[in-house]
């Protein structure tokens, strides 16, 4: 009997915790379909009276969210592809090409992982202004198209590929680069997907950096646009939360479909994005 109560309490706590986690998401979606009257109705209604996309239409018509969406998509794509390319090349050098000074370079680069990116914001702002890149989309992706975390993670995977494979390929006259593309990359696909997903989520959500770098609406990303829309929308929470849903829903879809890779990547590396 005591045991049954214990098991019941255990499930009760876990389920309550899961509900607390999910309620804000549910409330965001529910509110995003309500009318202004329903939003402020007391007691609050759990679900909207009728589901239609009116609020979303208003947000799309009244704000340059199309531009923001495109900017976010462009920056995210370039950051992700750029990181993959630079990391694959660098990880190959760090795991397969033997030369003097390699491990010193690796250690120096590794130590930068400890530096909080907030420290780099002020100097990077000045560096990019010297390059005349303030208020450009380039400034939003250029500093982030390489990541020591990605290089480190990928190197671990590359080191796990037996060297015999490399020598066999070399004996067959395969070049280093061809070996990298044809053998190593396909063999480490799960790791590459993990890196890509973490990078996608990270750059899609990034806020402080674009907020500082961008000053005109045509260069804003979705989160920056939301910060501006927050003032315009005022008490119109149904519109504000429709906008918030446009940022959050794509990530949730990716997460539901590919969580395996995200969870694995985080548990293996412990790195936050």
């Amino acid at each position: 009997m005591k045991n049954k109560i214990l098991v019941f309490t255990k499930y009760l706590i876990i389920i309550l915790g899961a509900l607390v986690t999910l309620v804000p998401f549910f409330w965001m979606l529910s509110t995003s379909f309500k009318t202004l009257g329903e939003v402020y109705q007391m007691p609050p209604s759990v679900l909207p009276n009728n589901f239609n996309f009116d609020n979303y239409k208003v947000v799309i018509e009244k704000t340059p969210i199309n531009t923001y969406f495109f900017n976010s998509l462009l920056v995210t794509t370039i950051v992700t592809l750029g990181t993959l390319i630079t990391s694959i090349l660098a990880a190959f050098a760090f795991s397969r090409v033997q030369f003097k000074g390699r491990d010193i370079i690796f250690t120096i680069l590794l130590s930068t992982m400890m530096v909080p990116s907030e420290l780099l914001i002020t100097p990077n702002f000045v560096i990019l202004s010297k390059l005349n890149l303030i208020n450009t989309l380039t400034a939003l992706y250029l500093p982030w198209i390489s990541s020591m975390f990605a290089i480190f993670l990928l190197r671990q995977y590359f080191l796990g590929i037996p060297e015999e494979l490399y020598y066999a390929a070399k004996a067959d006259g395969c070049s280093d680069f061809k070996y990298l593309i044809k053998v190593m990359v396909p063999l480490t696909k799960p790791a590459l997907i993990t890196i890509a997903l973490l990078k996608i989520i990270y750059s899609w959500n990034e806020f402080l950096w674009p907020m500082i770098m961008v000053s005109t609406p045509d260069k804003r990303t979705l989160p920056v646009g939301l910060a501006y829309f927050m003032t315009e929308a005022g008490p119109n929470y149904h519109l504000l939360l429709a906008y918030a849903s446009i940022i959050i829903v794509p990530v949730i879809v990716i997460y539901i479909l590919l969580q395996r890779y995200i969870i694995q990547g985080i548990t293996r590396s412990g790195i936050k994005g």
Binding site: K100, P123, S146, P223, A227, I248, T267
Partner: protein
């Protein structure tokens, strides 16, 4: 022959490293040096990038700025309440999940969901939940006889709201890491302690926590570092302001404000350096404590 080979390899290696090294060098390594230098620029032309004078004025200005002192204080309160709260709750939930629970992975993945979502976007929902008149939190609290709380309006409650949002957001990451640590503990230890007649509390304090200490150590370091950098939550929760009466003015908010609104690059750089040094000292202290108490098998 061998030397020639080494040279060829070095050239090849550098070629592969070049793209990553250029980006990391220009935007990660050089800025570290640059930020320290910039924090000593006292007279500087930012349009022509000429430094006229170096000095410690920026640091003196920080020490005398009541806003910076307040930012230090607020950030410390935030970190030292939020991080232990988040870790204790996640340890509790992870331990529950680690026992025989159905749908363990499903629950774990649900708890992790807030971690992947945009802070600014989800903070909008929390602003609505915290709304003192129409928010569902006060509505719910009304059922258990609690009067409406001015969550985002009262300076004291503003900090509590910020902490609630941050705990909610970080819980899933901590649960995931702690759960992985728990799953790596050999079941034999539990069997042995059961045979020795240890009750579940003793098993938790004498077996689980010591064997989990490397994981807890790791989680507390990453959480502390993350918490010291809190910014987007504040910005979104309080409609671009640092909370009522600056009650949630944090260090990164201060840096952002100096950089974005006041164009005081030198002071912003000096404040970043202070933040970095605090994070470094805490990491070092944790390593020292860790050496004593963390139990590696």
């Amino acid at each position: 022959m061998k030397k020639e080979n080494n040279l060829k390899n070095a050239a090849l290696g550098i070629l592969y490293l070049l793209p990553a090294m250029v980006i990391l060098g220009v935007f990660q390594i050089y800025p570290i040096i640059k930020v320290f230098l910039m924090s000593f620029y006292t007279r500087y032309n930012y349009f022509r990038h000429i430094v006229f004078e170096y000095g410690v004025d920026n640091y003196i200005q920080l020490a005398n700025d009541p806003k910076f002192i307040l930012a230090l204080k607020n950030t410390s309160i935030f970190v030292f309440v939020m991080v232990p709260t988040s870790i204790i709750i996640s340890l509790f939930i992870a331990t529950l999940l680690n026992s025989n629970v159905r749908f363990k992975k499903l629950f774990r993945n649900i708890y992790f969901l807030p971690f992947v979502t945009s802070t600014v976007a989800i903070a909008m929902v929390w602003r609505w939940i915290f709304h003192s008149k129409h928010g569902i939190l006060n509505y719910g609290l009304g059922f258990i006889g609690i009067d409406p709380i001015p969550w985002l309006i009262d300076p004291k409650w503003a900090m509590v709201s910020l902490i609630i949002l941050s705990v909610w957001k970080t819980l899933g990451y901590n649960i995931l890491i702690i759960l992985t640590g728990l799953q790596n503990i050999d079941k034999q230890y539990y069997m042995a302690s059961k045979i020795d007649g240890a009750n579940s509390w003793k098993r938790l304090t004498r077996v689980t926590i010591p064997l989990l200490s490397p994981t807890l150590f790791f989680v507390s370091i990453t959480s502390l570092i993350g918490a010291f950098k809190v910014f987007s939550e504040v910005y979104a929760l309080f409609e671009k302001r640092p909370g009522p009466l600056n009650s949630c003015l944090t260090m990164v908010y201060y840096i952002y404000d100096k950089l974005n609104n006041q164009f005081s690059y030198g002071v912003a750089a000096a404040a970043s350096v202070v933040l970095f040094i605090i994070i470094l000292i805490i990491t070092l202290i944790q390593f020292l404590i860790g050496k004593r108490f963390v139990h590696y098998k």
